[in-house]
């Protein structure tokens, strides 16, 4: 880790050493293409990237330490602020971990609601990514078209959960509220809208010759490297690594729905784009299977007012829109956790960036980094 002054010193040293053509430039922390406060120190030789070093910590809020002073009901809302684009799935991971420790039986209705919400979140997150990725490559129009669909999901969330991004809808034992009476109709309307409008993205982005030329064969990550860097989610699946937690270790009733784990062997930016588009179709298929078959019953299990986890260690992992999220709780038997550790998908995916862009031109950097789908608060926590 460098400090700001050390970076400047580095730059001058390189120049004074006579390494002509070698240049250190800083991208970020305030840069529109990094989608947050990510700071990249790039060593260039001409236009070729020699080394790229991400500097983190600009949005570190010490969420893990903060959770140690909150009770098991309270700490879930903080995790919405980590990966804010899949807040539901973050909350679900924490709720699952507490339920595992308390051995709470979650009612079937609550499980189905959780899957529905998670998949809607996944679609919303991927929709946003497609728009943001197109914007990174200079196409501004698709951004509005993807936000139109995302807006419908946000409205559904607002109606049932009470908030648009930081829902805090999952509580230990189930969900905070029952579904809104209008939920099913609105989701069905959304499915019709989505399936008719998603082809627009193909016309605008996937079939566009500029997009294809800029992403095909760019930022190639082999399957071996994806595994050794610990990549998960669409990044690893774009390299052909099967890593979907929903398949490997089903949670919250995912074993009862049938869906396909999408894999693309190419490992380039275009493959990662295709993965996300095809994952949205899979999510739609999961929602279609469940939306008419929501079982009757309680939406929340009966739990004690004060939750106390038994002494021990608990770990759960879920598949967020970005990859594998792990929640690790160490309990001393009290009302607050002794230690909480989050294994966030963005951190591992970012670590592969240096390997992916080394040797390529600086123009390909954003076309590669965009496909990692980085959410900086998720990396820093």
């Amino acid at each position: 880790m460098y400090t700001q002054t050390e970076i400047i010193k580095d730059t001058t040293q390189l120049n004074s050493n006579g390494n002509e053509g070698e240049l250190v430039i800083n991208v970020g922390p305030q840069h529109p293409a990094t989608h947050g406060v990510l700071h990249l120190v790039i060593t260039l030789n001409g236009e070729t990237i020699k080394k790229i070093e991400p500097h983190l910590g600009y949005i570190h809020r010490s969420i893990e330490k903060m959770c140690e002073s909150l009770t098991y009901r309270q700490f879930i809302y903080v995790t919405s602020r980590m990966d804010y684009l899949s807040a539901h799935i973050n909350n679900l991971a924490c709720a699952l971990c507490v339920e595992k420790g308390m051995q709470i039986e979650v009612p079937e209705r609550a499980q189905v609601i959780r899957i529905l919400m998670s998949e809607l979140t996944r679609i919303a997150s991927h929709e946003l990514w497609v728009g943001a990725m197109a914007m990174d490559l200079g196409a501004f129009t698709p951004f509005f078209y993807t936000f139109r669909e995302r807006e419908v999901i946000n409205d559904i969330m607002e109606q049932t959960c009470g908030a648009r991004l930081t829902m805090n809808y999952m509580v230990p034992g189930g969900t905070m509220y029952d579904l809104h009476p209008d939920f099913q109709n609105r989701v069905k309307a959304f499915i019709i809208q989505f399936t008719s409008k998603v082809t627009e993205l193909e016309d605008l982005i996937a079939n566009n010759i500029i997009f294809q030329n800029r992403t095909k064969g760019v930022g190639v990550l082999s399957a071996e490297d994806a595994i050794s860097y610990g990549c998960t989610g669409p990044v690893a699946r774009g390299s052909g690594v099967s890593c979907d937690i929903r398949k490997i270790q089903p949670y919250s009733g995912y074993e009862k729905v049938s869906f396909e784990e999408v894999l693309e062997p190419a490992g380039d930016s275009y493959a990662r784009y295709l993965i996300r588009i095809r994952e949205m179709y899979q999510s739609i298929s999961i929602i279609e299977q469940l939306i008419d078959n929501i079982p009757e019953g309680d939406f929340q299990a009966k739990t004690k007012a004060v939750l106390k986890l038994p002494k021990g260690e608990f770990y759960t992992r879920v598949e967020t829109a970005r990859g594998e999220l792990g929640v690790y709780i160490v309990s001393e038997g009290g009302t607050t956790p002794y230690r909480i550790k989050f294994r966030s998908p963005g951190f591992s995916n970012l670590s592969a960036l240096n390997h992916m862009v080394k040797g390529s031109k600086i123009g390909d950097l954003m076309a590669t980094m965009g496909t990692l789908d980085l959410v900086i608060p998720d990396i820093d926590r």
């Binding site: 700490f75 809302y77 607002e158 016309d203 566009n208």
Partner: protein
């Protein structure tokens, strides 16, 4: 051969460009399909859902009575220390002391609208309102007193 590839590339590029232009052109001539809302202008007919979490309010009925017993369950449930309840002891007509709230202090500047206080309340005294425009000129105005002056607890609420 090179020339043929070159012409094919140019043809494909122009075609993909036109395909995209056709899509954007469609919305240009179909303004009714645009869903953008003009926010400050449509403020009067904004319909926020019933469950929307704006800020915590305490509901009072027409007799200026609320349902808060001062049990501090919301204070304990809040992760941020947003709520502070100051209690006092009322003397009932039978001459007994009864716990009641004196001031229900709510720090909006600390609140994250997580809804845990509303869930914790045993008497449904507090709820989330649909107000979402919170900006004020002075920070101190965000610290609010939720119980109205002169209000007292509703009969029969324990």
């Amino acid at each position: 051969m090179f020339l043929k590839d070159y012409i094919t590339d140019v043809y494909k590029a122009v075609r993909s460009l036109l395909t995209g232009m056709k899509k954007t052109g469609y919305y240009f001539v179909h303004p009714s399909e645009i869903i953008t809302q003009q926010y400050p202008e449509n403020r009067h007919d904004l319909n926020l859902p019933e469950r929307f979490r704006g800020e915590v309010v305490m509901s009072h009925d027409e007799n200026n009575e609320h349902a808060c017993t001062g049990c501090t369950a919301c204070e304990l449930a809040c992760p941020n220390g947003t709520i502070k309840i100051i209690t006092k002891f009322d003397i009932t007509p039978e001459g007994k002391k009864k716990k009641a709230i004196d001031t229900f202090i709510y720090h909006l500047e600390l609140c994250t609208m997580c809804n845990l206080c509303v869930q914790a309340c045993p008497t449904d005294a507090i709820k989330m309102s649909q107000k979402f425009e919170h900006s004020v000129y002075d920070r101190s105005r965000l610290t609010k007193k939720l119980n109205q002056p002169g209000s007292k607890i509703r009969e029969g609420v324990e």
